[in-house]
Symmetry: C2
């Protein structure tokens, strides 16, 4: 029986999960691949650190270069995260003739092109199912199951931390700060949660999905990005009153060879499938020109869901399938499709606008005139009496618009902010279908 030698580099949460599956499920993996998957190295930073799962001492080392060059290794699994040394490790592994499995979205989003080209030159494969939505097989679905389709749109919840925070605020009425603290307590959010809550993590993942879905490398900056930092429970409350909830969505649309991408908080109708994805789950809605609407849902991160994806990639390499998938993924191309990027602002959308205004005559007339001047019509409006947390002379005013190009709405919103009766910068979000 053939043996496939594996080096796991990085043994944190996900790495420990992978080591656990490879050692505890040997029989299962042999039955499913017809090969022996043999763990040969577990590369760590510190040999003596306590680990969530006991790793046989003789497999542990701190020298990734030696592991990557070991002729008995065919598959290198990169689970270090971040750019360096992960990038050097992946490139050296490919140059040494190893296949690579990685869960590193930042690395692929920023240096995918170089990594894919290096793999191609060395006739090796890079498999990265675990880099986006661990428990959801979205890379295989895009690259393989929907291969007959041109993908027309992606709408996805890709950051479990943000989704947990928004769900907790919506369901329990918590503040942003309280929800973030709870996410950290549960281990969903890092000590420094910036990349999660500023939208960067979802942007990395969207860049990877868009590359496969649309066949073009997506520069990080081509994706408009807005996170959930400081989002107010007031807006979740008004959204609920209107029959909506707020989700951090990663969205992409292809129309007339123009591709618009953004990550932003979006109001979704409660009846929409994505609105109901709560807590640390991820979900991706795809529309293909042949298959129509499809939806995929599972745990977005966490030790075992991500390990499941990493080991699926190892199995795929062991049976020789990932190599063929990688070749057909259009991750490089002498003639990429002739797409242009456009700002998400250019896309037409409905909008939610929440203002805090002085309770005096003429305010509504001023605000609605500025929207009218941009030819934006209003679909609903709520004005309540002053809220207990505000000055009694200040009232919240919530406007939902009909669809209009976002840049026009933004122009109106900027002018509205300058009105003397508007006491704070308006808060606005796009409204999904």
């Amino acid at each position: 029986m053939d043996t496939i030698g594996i080096a796991v580099c990085g043994c944190g949460t996900v790495g420990s999960g992978v080591v656990r599956v490879l050692t505890e499920q040997r029989e299962r993996l042999t039955a499913r691949t017809g090969r022996q998957l043999l763990l040969r190295h577990v590369v760590v930073r510190q040999l003596d650190k306590a680990r969530p799962f006991r790793v046989p001492r003789e497999l542990l080392s701190t020298d990734w270069r030696a592991a990557v060059r070991d002729p008995a290794v065919q598959v290198v699994v990169e689970l270090i995260g971040g750019i360096e040394p992960a990038k050097s490790l992946v490139l050296e592994a490919l140059q040494a003739g190893k296949h690579v499995v990685t869960a590193n979205k930042a690395l692929l989003a920023h240096h995918g092109q170089e990594i894919y080209e290096t793999a191609r030159r060395n006739d090796r494969a890079v498999a990265f199912e675990a880099s986006v939505a661990g428990g959801v097989p979205i890379i295989a679905t895009l690259g393989q199951s929907l291969a007959a389709n041109q993908i027309l749109s992606i709408q996805a919840i890709l950051n479990g931390t943000s989704n947990f925070i928004l769900s907790a605020m919506d369901e329990h009425g918590w503040t942003y700060e309280a929800a973030l603290a709870e996410a950290q307590r549960r281990g969903y959010a890092e000590a420094d949660p910036t990349l999660d809550v500023d939208g960067s993590d979802a942007t990395h993942k969207l860049a990877i999905l868009a590359h496969i879905a649309f066949g073009v490398a997506v520069p990080f900056d081509a994706i408009d990005r807005q996170g959930i930092i400081g989002i107010s429970e007031l807006d979740l409350r008004f959204a609920r009153e209107l029959g909506y909830t707020i989700k951090l969505l990663a969205e992409g649309w292809l129309k007339d060879n123009t591709l618009a991408l953004h990550v932003a908080p979006v109001l979704l109708r409660n009846s929409s499938p994505l609105a109901r994805v709560s807590g640390a789950f991820n979900a991706i809605a795809l529309v293909g020109d042949i298959v129509g609407e499809t939806l995929y849902q599972g745990m977005g991160a966490g030790q075992m869901p991500t390990a499941s994806a990493v080991v699926a990639d190892i199995i795929d390499l062991a049976v020789g399938r990932a190599q063929r998938t990688f070749q057909s993924l259009r991750l490089w191309s002498a003639t990429p499709p002739a797409l242009t990027f456009c700002k998400a602002e250019m896309v037409s959308s409905r909008h939610y606008l929440r203002l805090l205004v002085r309770d005096e005559p003429g305010v509504l007339s001023d605000v609605t005139r500025m929207l009218a001047e941009e030819q934006i019509s209003i679909s609903s409006i709520i004005q309540h009496e002053a809220l207990p947390e505000h000055d009694s002379a200040i009232v919240p005013l919530v406007i939902m618009t009909h669809a209009a190009p976002t840049y026009r709405f933004h122009r109106a919103a900027k002018r509205i902010d300058l009105l003397p009766s508007v006491t704070a910068k308006g808060v606005h979000y796009t409204v999904g279908d």
Copy 2:
């Protein structure tokens, strides 16, 4: 560039869709496979029939044997449906050294073993993504993306016609007959809808999924089967009152090496993701021992969603991936896992029981005593006044139980039916989690 010759056998709804994609999307398919996918034969029953999509006259023939034996054909696509001549065609194609793509669930559910063995002997592959839930890549997910997992449970809406009927009854208060007529008018249900509404179609699909998920061939009769024929809007109404809806589910559970499978109407809490899958959509919830809960959703049938799956399989064969997947699918095995089948009756579940009883003293006491004697405890009970459609002396009594082995509940239900104050056979369904 390599050329892959394709024979499409059967040119009804799905066949026309496949021919359309193969002819209209040639450039796309070449880009994604690095090969030329060349349609060489379209085999039909009648040459001159009007078709939804124009097929080049020179490709049409009525002789499937000639098409299947053509040395210029590498992939035979079987879209005839039913057992014969589909079975002979598939077997002869494999024997002639062709790979086979099929959407034929009845054929695979009843004769899968023979077909898979024939493929293996001839070193060919059978790809059948389109046989279950057309627009949902569930075969690839089970066979590949979740390959690191032992699947623990399947819970699925697999018959779009039944789901459409139940959704229409629930949402519009229609009768079963009216909803069925509408499904037929829209082309979801066949002129003879028996296989859809008696649960056979979902049972075929569950047999195929279970074979891949659990690694054992599932005899059709190992699956307890109950369809939705004659389901009453009265029960949908009571379910709604209790916060539930009724769905035709295909379910499988693996526990302690014992496998229980059934197809039946099941009450689902409105908050459960499957409860919200309405109309002609299909959805599959899988639990894997490593990945946890996952959910997949898309159009279950229809021309283009199914064509998307068929063409994905053709692409998979063209790039050489389906061959490797087929070999690793555990569709045969000298040593299949040591599983025993058990009747779904043996599984513990909550139950819904709706009786029509005479409005007289002692009824409730008799009914609850019979449940108590089987050690089944009651979680809620509704007794309304007589309904307009019934005799004023007859009232509906609805009982929801706590979890108990289903066979015990059935025993109690049979005794309850014999009570003189119970005027009609009780209607009962299991209640999902």
